[in-house]
Each structure stands twice: as structure tokens, then as C-alpha cells.
Assembly symmetry: none
DNA sequence: ACAATTGTACTAATTGAGATAATACAATTA
DNA sequence: TAATTGTATTATCTCAATTAGTACAATTGT
């Protein structure tokens, strides 16, 4: 269900965050679905519970999930798959921008492209 | 000529790398142009020479520049391949923006992401 | 009522990448 | 020859990420 790359430069808690957002956007995780307990997921991924907790905390701060002591963590009831998909698409944009910048793309070039999608 | 942000999460050597690639791509640095010596640039940027050296090493490994002891570092005579890669990357950005817009992304949201790659 | 589960909070220790510091060497230039 | 240049090496420092350990409070299930 959840996969992380320990060799990646991206922090584990960030990978987990993206994992959950992706699963929601794909419809695998639906509103009110229960997420694995912090400890269980930590054990499953061979990762520290604090790391999972950090990801969950961020997900709750961004409205993707709701957590409560004793109950667990659940996908937000009001979260729409559309919103999650949009967030995912925005992540893709960010990643491709990063690539382009690495290859010498300037802010002006990127702005021009961006404008093209709102004027044209 | 070169600017870095010491507060950025992005490593200095990576910022320098992108700086050079961008200047080459923009035509400011042309083939066979001389780059600042490692020590000079390090002093100018208040940065360790090793950090500049690391950036130069990567740039040479990727074919952007040619370095030689005693002579200095110069923009590679042929950089056409890199320019082609940039164009491809820009096309990817455009495609992903299109996806995001169709999912409800606003221009403001995209601008914020774009800024993030040039400020943060 | 009780035990297990759960999210959360906290401090301390560890790890690794990035950066600095200092020095040295070899090739080139003037 | 003396200065400049890229490169290499080793050691040290810094900081975010992660681990480790413990504890607490609310909920669940029996």
C-alpha cells in the first residue's frame, strides 16, 4: 500500500505524505477510510514511528486526513478526489519545472508558457 | 554574474550549477567563454573553493564546460544537445500545466509554485 | 473496570549530506 | 621563475532527518 525509497534525497515523511495524497487522488483511499496506525505503518516500513507521525501531522494540517487519539487517522470526510487530483497535478508541474530549471530554463521562459495556458 | 541564496534549501553547488547552465542557455555565456577561476568565484560569493569546484566538476561531467589545470574552465564548444534537452523539458512543463489547469488549478497557484523554484 | 490501542509530545542520540578549513600537487601562463 | 589554475585529500563543523526511548491522554473492546 505504501512504498518509500530510503535512498532517495526526499525525506521519508515527505514521501509518505505524497503517498497518501496519491492514493486519495487515485480513489484507492476514500473519505472516512482508516489509515494504518502510526506504529503499524512504522513497523511495516521499517521506519521510526516519529517519522510516520510527522507525515500524518502534515496531512492533517493540509486537510487530507483527520486524526484523533484512541480512534486513529481517517481520510477527511469532505476531501474530494478532484482536489486531491489537482494537488497531484500541481506536484507534477513542480517536478517538471525543477527539471527544466536544471537544464537552464529561465523564469521568463516559464512565465511565458504559463501565460499561454490562460491567455490562449 | 553569479548569484546564490545561502538561506535556500538547495545546495550551493547545485545553485551554481543551475546558474551556469542558465547563463549558457540564455546566450550570456557563449562557447569557449572563460568562467571565473574557482578561487575567485569562491571569494566573490563568500563560499568555500571546494563548493565551487564541486559545481564545476558536475558541469564538466555533464558536458557544459571544459576544465584544465593551469588554463581554467571554459564553456564547451558544443552545447546543442543540452539546449535540445531544455526545450524538451519545457514541453513537459507545458503539458503538466495543461493537466493541472483542466483539474481546476488557478494561475495564482501555479505562479506560487513557479516562484518557489526561484526564491526558495 | 480493565487492558490494549491510538495519536501526540518530549528529550536525547545518531546519521549523512553539505559546507568549511587547510594543505598539497601538477599543469599552464606570463 | 613566480603566479595562476584545476584537482585532490583529510579533517572538522553544521544542520536537517531520523532514530530511540519514554510518557501521557483519549478511545476501543472485552
Amino acid at each position: 500500500m505504501f512504498t518509500i525509497d530510503l535512498t532517495s534525497r526526499k525525506p521519508i515523511y515527505e514521501q509518505l505524505y505524497n503517498n497518501v495524497v496519491r492514493l486519495i487522488s487515485a480513489g484507492v483511499l476514500k473519505p472516512d477510510d482508516k489509515l494504518p496506525p502510526v506504529r503499524s505503518l512504522a513497523t511495516e516500513l521499517s521506519v521510526n514511528p516519529n517519522t510516520v507521525s510527522k507525515a500524518y501531522k502534515l496531512l492533517e494540517a493540509d486537510g487530507y486526513i483527520c486524526s484523533a487519539v484512541g480512534k486513529g487517522s481517517f481520510v477527511s470526510p469532505d476531501i474530494s478526489v478532484q482536489n486531491a487530483e489537482k494537488q497531484l497535478a500541481l506536484e507534477q508541474v513542480s517536478a517538471r519545472i525543477k527539471d527544466a530549471v536544471s537544464l537552464g530554463a529561465t523564469k521568463e521562459e516559464l512565465l511565458k508558457i504559463l501565460d499561454g495556458h490562460f491567455n490562449g
